[in-house]
């Protein structure tokens, strides 16, 4: 039982990171119908920027929370600039082009970001300095560190904040209007270009926070880390119903828990034939099952041709 509880905790923490990254995919998809494959790599850049800033300041004698705050601020700043620039330079000129063109562009941007990062940060794994001493807590035989608790709670706070923002703020309303019908929204006085840029802004900022969480949690960064993270987050977004913000959160947490349980129990279930290196089979099996039964994902609605 304590093992099950432990796997659940592992999964929820992992899933909350997936959920944050998935938000970036789902918001852009909801508004533009574009799968922004470069998003995972924007997260990677955020992670590496935070890592670099934290390493540079770690020896300066500043208190650890200040170092972390500065690193996070730098990551958000760089990611937001990157996200908005990518939208302006790579996607906006193609907005009326056939849908395949922006998709290929997104893949191109993703590769560009990866290899630029390889040039800047080398292809080595880079280690994150230990900013905090981690205390270990225990409930019912399962253990978690304060860092895990912070990652999970912060992710929940960001998601709650985002939901409130979309529901209640003026820009949030404009975002929902653009999502439903950009042309009509434009006729109603919504500056859709600004709203789209803002969506990238928001997605990149949340992605930067997720990137900081990843380097804090695992203690290392790598120029290729955005690829798998992006793929998993995209899967989470599809699982929850792409375009649906709550769906992305649910899909992320669910995928994290499935992965964790699968890697923990796959060896026992298959009698040692398959190890945790095959855990992705389970994750994608669940995805396929959900899509067969509910083609638009758990919480997605069928939105006709535009989805």
């Amino acid at each position: 039982m304590d093992i099950f509880l432990q796997q659940l905790i592992n999964g929820l923490v992992l899933g909350s990171v997936y959920a944050l990254v998935a938000l970036g995919y789902t918001m852009v998809y909801g508004i533009l119908g574009l799968i922004n494959f470069a998003h995972g790599d924007v997260v990677m850049v955020g992670a590496l920027v935070a890592l670099t800033v934290a390493s540079a300041l770690a020896a300066s004698g500043l208190p650890a929370p200040v170092v972390l705050a500065l690193a996070t601020a730098a990551a958000i700043l760089v990611c937001v600039a990157l996200g908005v620039t990518i939208e302006r330079v790579a996607y906006r000129p193609l907005r009326r082009a056939p849908r395949l063109a922006p998709l290929i562009t997104a893949i191109g941007v993703s590769i560009l970001l990866q290899y630029s990062a390889a040039l800047i940060w080398s292809k080595q794994y880079i280690s994150m300095p230990d900013l905090f001493k981690h205390d270990i807590y225990s409930i019912g035989g399962a253990q978690f560190t304060d860092l895990q608790a912070v990652v999970f709670l912060l992710a929940c706070a960001v998601m709650a904040g985002l939901l409130w923002f979309i529901k209640s703020s003026r820009i949030g309303r404009a975002m929902r209007a653009t999502e439903q019908n950009p042309e009509v929204a434009g006729l109603m006085g919504v500056d859709t270009n600004r709203i789209i840029a803002f969506t990238f802004f928001l997605g990149s900022a949340i992605g930067a926070v997720a990137g900081v969480m990843v380097v804090l949690y695992y203690g290392l960064g790598h120029y290729f880390m955005g690829f798998m993270l992006g793929l998993k987050a995209f899967t989470a977004a599809v699982l929850g119903g792409i375009g649906n913000v709550v769906g992305a959160m649910l899909g992320g947490l669910l995928l994290g828990v499935i992965e964790s349980l699968a890697s923990g129990y796959i060896g026992d279930i298959t009698g040692g034939v398959l190890g945790s290196n095959y855990r992705d089979i389970f994750a994608f099996l669940v995805l396929v099952t959900v899509l067969v039964l509910r083609p638009s994902g758990l919480l997605g609605q069928h939105t006709g041709d535009r989805a």
Binding site: D2, I3, Q6, Q7, N10, G11, L14, Q124, Y125, S127, P129, D130, H134, I136, S138, Q143, T145, L147, Q148, Y218, G219, L220, H222, F224, M225, M228, E259, S260, L261, A262, S263, G264, Y265, G267, D268, G272, G275, S276, N277, R279
Partner: protein, 407 residues
């Protein structure tokens, strides 16, 4: 311009080729003519190749090997060797394989074309293996100072040798150390699903089991993963007193961190893939007490280590990185075989290579029928005070033990 350059090179290489052919028997025409007039005995020039990465991220290790080879050649020339009644003058041909398997075969062909009688190299297993085909076809013996992949000597070539213990010897050695010295009873074994990691872990598990330990968990992850909490959690439930990982530092670092954060108190041990300074960086404070093996003796403990390190320092104004002593000994093994065969021709001294029994800087050198180092020592290191410190050196038993775990 370009074409003329090419033609020039072609002409030069054909010239070198035509000269090269006669080189082993009689002195080459232009240079040694003046020298040859003086000594009574005839002089032959014998070329020894050195192939390792001299540029790129691994350059420091590759240059280290080349320097070792150069030092050996200078020592031999200073001592003066006579083979078949002729004075032998050794000459170094150093090539850069950039740690690249494709470049390695090109370099190998280049060395063959320049008529080397033996090659010390390559550094990487991934380079040594493809290059070995070229040397084998040309009948030129190759001694790798550092490649540990078992496959290198298992291709059926008569020309492949190495002066370092290989991975199939490392796993059982680690297992024996774990069961007898650490008294590990319940062991969890994890690998990264690569040829290296899984091979090491399988060999470890087989020997540990034979020694009476319980393998309580056998898990696999990948060499791209950084989240091991799930498998560590299920391992925690089996209460191991030791966790063994077959893999490299980018996985081992975060794994040790996560192990500690899950409250697992087991000891942690691995192979040479994680015996790196980077591992300590990645694992941070949690690296303390982690153990890993590395083929070879620590250079301070090599029989000829102390004087070698000093002479190396005096000559190159640099510290021995890693494999310079192996490179040095490799050349000496060639010279030793030539002496016994009384010939500098590869075809004549190659059969003698297998009978080598040489006391080198790194210790006694003898090869088994495949060309692997017999009883290659393996050192176990432990992280102490943020640094790898040698803990204990194990020399695998002389019997067929290293092969016991082979499937």
């Amino acid at each position: 311009m370009n074409r003329r350059h090419l033609i020039g090179m072609l002409a030069a290489s054909t010239l070198a080729l035509t000269y090269g052919c006669g080189q082993q028997e009689k002195p080459p025409a232009p240079k040694p003519k003046a020298e040859a007039a003086k000594p009574v005995a005839e002089t032959v020039t014998v070329r020894v190749g050195s192939a390792s990465p001299l540029t790129g991220p691994q350059a420091h290790i590759g240059i280290d090997i080349r320097n070792g080879v150069q030092l050996a050649i200078e020592d031999l020339n200073a001592k003066g060797m006579e083979i078949g009644g002729k004075k032998v003058k050794f000459e170094l041909v150093a090539e850069d394989d950039e740690a690249n398997p494709t470049k390695a075969t090109t370099v190998a062909q280049k060395l063959v074309d320049s008529k080397v009688v033996g090659v010390v190299g390559h550094f990487n297993s991934g380079a040594s293996i493809p290059a070995s085909k070229v040397y084998s076809d040309a009948g030129i013996p190759q001694i790798s100072p550092s490649s540990t992949n078992p496959k290198y000597t298992q291709q059926g070539f008569k020309t492949t040798f190495r002066v370092v213990a290989h991975d199939d010897q490392q796993g059982p050695t680690l297992a024996k150390f774990a069961t007898s010295k650490l008294n590990a009873k319940n062991i969890a074994v994890i690998d990264d699903s690569t040829a290296y990691g899984q091979g090491l872990a399988d060999a470890f598990a087989a020997t540990a089991k034979a020694a009476g330990a319980n393998i309580v968990a056998r898990e696999h992850t990948t060499d791209k993963d950084t989240d091991f909490r799930a498998i560590l959690t299920s391992i925690r439930g089996r209460k191991p007193d030791l966790i063994m990982f077959g893999g490299i530092d980018p996985q081992a670092g975060p794994m040790v961190r996560q192990m500690v954060s899950l409250g697992i108190k087991a000891k942690y041990i691995g192979g040479d893939g994680m015996q790196t300074p980077n591992f300590i960086k990645l694992a941070g404070d949690t690296a303390e007490g982690v153990m890993a093996s590395m083929p070879g003796l620590p250079k301070e403990q090599m029989p000829g280590g102390k004087s070698f390190v000093e002479r190396y320092k005096a000559k190159f104004n640099a510290d021995v990185e890693l494999f310079a002593p192996m490179g040095y000994d490799a050349v000496m093994v060639f010279a030793d075989a030539m002496k016994r065969a009384n010939s500098t021709e590869p075809a004549k001294f190659l059969p003698e290579m297998g009978k080598t029994s040489y006391q080198g800087v790194i210790g006694p050198i003898a090869f088994d029928e495949k060309g692997d180092l017999r009883n290659g020592p393996i050192t176990i290191y432990v992280v102490k005070g943020g640094k790898w410190e040698p803990l204990e050196t194990v020399t695998p038993g002389g019997e067929a033990k290293p092969d016991a775990a082979k499937k």
